[in-house]
Symmetry: D2
Subunit: 222 residues, 4 copies
């Protein structure tokens, strides 16, 4: 299909472009792009917009998507409440996918975490490792996993390591009497996130108007 | 509750007894037992029979369970077709639990294997390790996992190691583009199997007549 | 060879006996033994004493070993300074092996820890897991590993988990730029400790008088 | 120091440049470079040459290094016997480092493999994982590890997995009675190899004339 990538020269945008270009026709929009500086310069009818630029710009991209009646995948963070309300208002007319945590596998991972937290009554420990530059600890995903346990009224102990260049590892172990189940997710590079965005794109292309996220993507497949 | 353990002096039976005795009143039946040599010697009304002895004896135990209208957990293997037909015939009148693979966690494990095999399109490899005395390779559980993949029309590669004293490890890895999910089950001792039998006992105690197995036990909880 | 096991009915002593009996002739000494209640009852000339009983008794066993000019392996802890001085005094005449940490593999493990701590300049993290009943945290072995890093003027971060029935796991990871080395030791059962004692026994049998420990055992082999 | 990188626009050369430029002054030599097309264009006195281009070119670079009396690190493969003989002949006059397997950590890894293969008598298994595009199986490193075991007259079983995008994982497990030691090396990206080349550069800069390799680099530090 014909896909516009807004923010195509950024860290994430360029990886999305590299991946998408193998299967799709890509229109690069970026102030630093030598294709298009702005969405308004595109004359063709396109099938989808992916915005990896910034929360401010993503609102403009959503308006553009609404005017041309095409779905949009928003893969940037930091939206204000007002920006989010504005984006939501357009979701009555077009399908909008908000992809905060863009790894597809981490969604599957959270599903099996939930299943085990519910059905396996025993001690549980989460060990997560990220690169030294990461400031928050435990990680956002670790906090989400902790919430899954809290909803089941169970306790999860967590240890966090900040070391080396590790992109992201989450290892959850269930210690029953004399047997253990260990599940782990490892992101080897940021390409995992670009892949998630492409999966989101393929998911949303034929959907009805509405607001979608990574959880819908996975729920749809069970 | 009052539980009869038939085969209480065997390898598995004695471990079941050791665990069960903490919560329940146990009646030991075994030719080597100094309590009861035979089921017929028991005078009290009991709540449940667990048979860990042999496929031949388990048919007799089932008849006893039928006559006294109590549930039975059969935790031995090798039944002939005729023995199994006879056992099944009594399941119209009493709840009968057949526990071939007695680890509870391995049932949970197979559930998440199935979920990932279905939803995670990527290369998958199973690495399983057992003690050197184990003759079959790949393990029975490995073959079951392979079947799960076949039903989803997906390929699973398998490597088997026979080394040291390892009770049993199954490690399944899904290799997606730049991210991996690894799930593993480790049995640390045969007590895991005794635990599974006790879970089966608690599950079956109030069930309607019928034939149950470990899969029912887990399905019941989702 | 002919081996006396003092404390042969204890938790560790009985496991040592079970293992040793496959290769050696065993004399069981224990107040609960139906062989010998006391060392003095033994008439045969024996080749080695293993004492797994208590720090008080191990002094008596050492005196017996001295009088009969045979080597002794002491595999119990908690000796007072005076007891230790007395034991040492006999090491001028007979070989005495003091086995505090009785796993052989953990000695090898500490050797490679030392090698990597010295040669691999990068972030390091130790993750250790033990059963819930274990009171001290981090484990004694974790503290020894920390000391190895301190001697190299390097920092080691540690996380400790107390969960399930885990006998003991130590996993040490070195996080370099874009590559990692992970080394782990897992004790699957207390038999590992019994094995270490047997290795110590075979090591000491032909040694000169002196005081030996697990470190000597390993150093001897490099 | 002043470092010339020959082949600075190649896959490996550009990564070496990116890393080296943080600490050193770099002269880029490459047919595609907009700095220097050829070594002969450089006028300054430099401290070191790193050649990541090709076996043919590396001979020319070695002659240049000899004429200017500077050390050289050769980080390309495929040399013919004659090329290697020619390179060796210059090692009487200048220090030459041949870096075939450029990861520093894998050298440390092989050291501890050797130590354990020698000292830990038990079953051993190597499980190695690489991306699907890798043609050889088992990997070159796996074969080197197998040789280490053969020299100790011990058997190593090996399983190889070719899946996903995995840069390279080697996991070696020693299965003793009731305890295991597991050691693993994981390369997260090719930057690991660039790092090894820089370590080689710092190692060779003050060495006497001679032929060096990654093994020397590590041996030097023990």
């Amino acid at each position: 299909m014909k896909i516009v990538i807004v923010g195509s020269c950024g860290k994430l945008g360029s990886q999305v472009k590299n991946l998408a270009i193998k299967k799709h026709e890509i229109f690069s929009v970026d102030l630093n792009s030598n294709e298009y500086k702005n969405l308004s310069e595109i004359n063709s009818k396109v099938d989808l917009i992916i915005d990896t630029s910034s929360h401010e710009q993503s609102v403009n991209s959503t308006i553009y998507a609404y005017k041309h009646n095409i779905p949009i995948v928003i893969a940037c963070t930091g939206h204000t409440k007002n920006e989010m309300l504005e984006i939501k208002s357009y979701s009555k007319f077009i399908p909008i996918f908000i992809a905060y945590n863009m790894s597809y596998a981490i969604q599957l991972f959270k599903k099996i975490v939930h299943y085990l937290a519910k059905n396996f009554d025993c001690d549980a420990h989460l060990h997560e490792i990220h690169h030294k530059a990461k400031k928050d600890s435990p990680s956002g995903t670790a906090k989400e996993i902790e919430q899954i346990f809290k909803k089941e009224r169970k306790f999860l102990s967590i240890s966090s390591v900040r070391a080396g260049n590790i992109v992201g590892e989450h290892e959850l172990t269930f210690f029953s009497n004399d047997e253990t189940i260990k599940i782990s997710h490892t992101a080897q590079s940021r390409i995992a996130f670009a892949n998630g965005i492409l999966k989101a794109s393929e998911f949303i292309i034929n959907k009805k108007p509405g607001l979608y996220n990574m959880e819908n993507l996975v729920q749809d497949k069970i």
